[in-house]
Amino acid sequence: MSQHILRTYDDELMEVRSVVVRMGGLAAEQLAEAMQALKELDTDLAEKTRQGDKQLDALEALAETTVIGVFARRAPVADDLREVVSALKMTTMIERMGDYAKNIARRSMSIAEGQGVILMPHLLEDMAAEAHEMIHEVMDCYVKRAADDAIAVWERDEQLDNMYNAAYRQILARMMEAPEQIAVLSHYLMIAKNLERIGDQATNVAEQVYYAITGDILEEARQKRDGAASESVGE
Amino acid sequence: MTDNTRNILDQQVDWHSPKVRARLRRRHRTDFLFRAIGFSAVAAAGLFLVFLLGNIIKNGAPGFLQTSIEVDVAFDPSLLPDPTLERAEFAAAMARVDLQRLLRQSLLDHFPEVSGRADTIRLTRMLSSGARAQLRDILVRNPAVVGTTGKVWLLASDEVDQVVKGNVDISLPEQNRKLKNKELVWLQRFESEGRVSLSFHSRFITAGDSREPELVGVWGAIVGSGLTLLVTLLTAFPIGVASAIYLEEFAPKNRFTDIVEVNINNLAAVPSIVFGLLGLAFFLGVMGMARSAPIVGGLTLALLTLPTIIISARAAIAAVPPSIRDAARGLGASSMQVAFHHVVPLAMPGILTGTIIGMARALGESAPLLMIGMVAFIVDVPGGVNDPATVLPVQIFLWADSPERAFIEKTSAAIMVLLFFLIAMNGMAIWLRQRFERKW
């Protein structure tokens, strides 16, 4: 994309964008660490993950001041407007992802402290991998300005939802089999829910990326596309 | 590529180095020098102006004054008509009276020692030839004075006048003076009796031209100038303003109007005598109008002033901001309405200023009028635009050419009158500009 006549404007927009990208990377890392802590029931790592969330909060605050500065001084319009508005929303979403990761870490500590260690259901690891990949991909789209890829990320959420449903049923079944494990298993159930929420946030981020790049609402664009597809099928 | 330049610009400038200081001093010096030169130029111009005006006023002021001599006149009934006659008859009879004789008799009564024909003539010549007219006026106005003796202030001749004003060096040898020793003695006698006065001479303002310096007046020339300028104004102003409005507001911009424009500008630079030739050829030659008449002079001067009026009126019209035209046009005013409701009223002060300056130039012109015969010697004050007349600058030209010493001061005095009118006209132009100038 061509440069602004005013170079400092470009610099500020780049700053906003880089903060978003750093937050995305950090959130993915937090998720990975939380999952590792859970898998290995490593309380130190879990604690480290919890602390890491503060960094995300700080970055979110930085993004906010930068964006407000751009509004106040540049009166952004068109893509610049969409860029900064999306960035502001995305940082909130990514910060939420970090919160979910922190949640997972906290639960892993509870599990580790509890009696009778029950190993993590396999499906959770798959879900985490899927969510991790979604974060990575959506940040990739953001950096590469690839609107179509954002749609792909958006669509992956369905897969994660299916995995969550499967995990939910599986954990529920294990609860019924072994009611004495309910306390621990309910932690796992919540973790599955957290992972599913992370996926949802990644989807939301994908919507924002799509809007920032194209100016269209992803849902509407998809409906239009689907409509066109079904029409062509009808012919 | 920019690295080198950037390095140069990054260097700190030492504003206190000797080099910089020297440069600054030099700059201040040139500043001062230029201001000094400019001031001297203005001062020199001012000095010239003061000298010129001072010289004219010094020479001209005495021109407004005139020496009179009080003479005891015996209105001898034997020489005069019967005062009981009807006023008209008395006046008619007065025309045949030899007043010179009456005057001579009165003077001889005053100087009983004077005898002989030559001395008598010398004595009477101390009074102006206009003295007879003065006596006639007194008698016609009041026939009852016949038979009495009265003290009457009579105009002195120009030679006496010059001596009284101190313009003639009486220490010169007698043969180099017009006024001989005898006459000086008589004059001293008059003076010692308090019979000589130097006072404001209203005749200079109210009379027409004359051969005698003490009898001349500028009124004829003022009226001639006035009539001529009236004709000029009535012709040049409407034609000039109409042309300017047409050229500026309506005329299409094409080759033809360009040529017209260039030619108008060239006309403004044509020597005025050429307009005189044109006037001579056309108004006198082709139209057969009267020579020396203000109407011809006015029309000729109108030709001369037209380019000035057109150019200044165009400038004034062009100076009306286009936004005013846009505003009027945007409201749906037609071209005529735009021009006459807005542009011309706003340009009027400028147009009038230009016109007055053009008129002032016309007032000062003499060359073209010489060509159409307004240089004639005309005693009567003109009564209309077809009467023979002269104008102020031509009058000045005529007097400057006259040999009598007394005409020097009359010339300067006439120049003062002309300058007064020019300054008044320019002052009016300035006043109009100040009064009607609009801000937008």
Partner: protein
Amino acid sequence: MLNAAIESENEALSPPKMTIRDVHVHYGDIHAVKGVTLDLRPDQVTALIGPSGCGKSTLLRCMNRMNDTIADCRVEGQVFLDGQDIYDSQIDVVQLRARVGMVFQKPNPFPKSIYDNVAYGPRIHGLATDRDALDEIVEASLEKAGLWQEVKDRLDQVGTALSGGQQQRLCIARAIAVNPEVILMDEPCSSLDPIATAKVEALIDELSARYAIVIVTHSMQQAARVSQKTVFFHLGEMIEYGDTTQMFTAPREDRTRDYITGRIG
């Protein structure tokens, strides 16, 4: 493609006040406006934006034939006012300009009284039968222009003595005094301070309910603030036409985007 968009819009809305169909303007050899097609609705503000020399002012001046006075200006295509071609030889340009009023870049009140400024239009068009009617028109126009309260006690004061913003509102009052249907504004706020600008913009907003308003502006923010439709011109071409909100959040054309965001195009 643009034309198709406009025409499809036509079906949905009330009939346009002014329609511009494939208008080209030439100044001698210069092709200043290249085939513009545009509709102006009676209750909308349309903003024309674009870099200097893009032809937006030229197009504006086509709409009330102010270009007529420029010698080598040639207009092709059609401009309709209520379905009547204004370039038709039957149309009287004087009457046209009363119906399509204009407000200029620099406030240009006549150097006459405030009253005479507003009364001039009605006078030359004979809109008032007597003095009372004229008084009424003057008051109503000044009222509508939001100036009445400020000047009612000094109507005989000269219009040029008002402040810049008041002068511009006086010019607007003068334009609406002849009861126009369309008001063209050529950068009306470019010489005003922000407060005066805000007042004029508020006035434009109020007037938009009654008149079709076209405004040429160099201030993108102003276009965004006052208009419902925005047209972007570049080098005499109409690049984009659309809802102002859409234009300023998601312009369709790269050239529009580069211009409104201040990019090196």
